[in-house]
Symmetry: C2
Subunit: 124 residues, 2 copies
Amino acid sequence: MTDNISPAAFTCGLDATLRVIAGKWKPLIVYFLAQSPNRYGELKRAVRGVSDKMLIQQLKELEADGLVRRTDHKEVPPRVDYALTPLGRSLSEALAPLCAWGSENMEEVARVFAERATWAEKSA
Amino acid sequence: MTDNISPAAFTCGLDATLRVIAGKWKPLIVYFLAQSPNRYGELKRAVRGVSDKMLIQQLKELEADGLVRRTDHKEVPPRVDYALTPLGRSLSEALAPLCAWGSENMEEVARVFAERATWAEKSA
DNA sequence: CAGAATCCATAAAGATACTG
DNA sequence: CAGTATCTTTATGGATTCTG
């Protein structure tokens, strides 16, 4: 009953990781924070297209999950910055190969997506 | 109309990768196919909890994206198997560190998720 | 500047039943 | 066995407005 089927029962390591980085923006946030700790505003500019709502929401979850540390400097005007914890940093390193894969195969991926867009257009 | 961004314009390599593996089951599918090419039924058993609809849907997208190759042996009863293409295999290798990260930190992740479940219960 | 609160549209996923 | 088809639900994300 105790550790039978808990909500946090992962089928494998990958499954566990996926639940932590679930969300459209989390991997990108971790990736940008790995390059440099950032203030809220800078982060928002770096993660292009994200809304305040989503950025805050995902930052809070990352913080709750122990990947990100939030520091409020209690100044006026507000100054808050975000940085990775050691756990977050280790995750960002695991993410690096995905960045590399995307960079190496971007042409091919873009081509395939363009084709998809084409027939999506035709069927509309 | 602000700045016209094409559908396949990625902000960085990670962004490109994320679009390819977007979907609850895709990374797991690639992961399992990397270990051994599989028939449809085996794959379904391996990816625990997936429905036919989702499995087929995501397999089709992976196939359209050039990561998976589907082979229909045209037999009765039907026999179809799925395997990674070279591109898919390279992606599976990039995924490996995420598996490792999840395995190494599963305890911690599970603990955090359990806490979340606790206060989600309380607010209900 | 760094959010919070609210409302809304859509996309993603699940359940179920059926088929060659 | 390897899927389809349809319906319903839920999760996700976006737009807007407001605030200390």
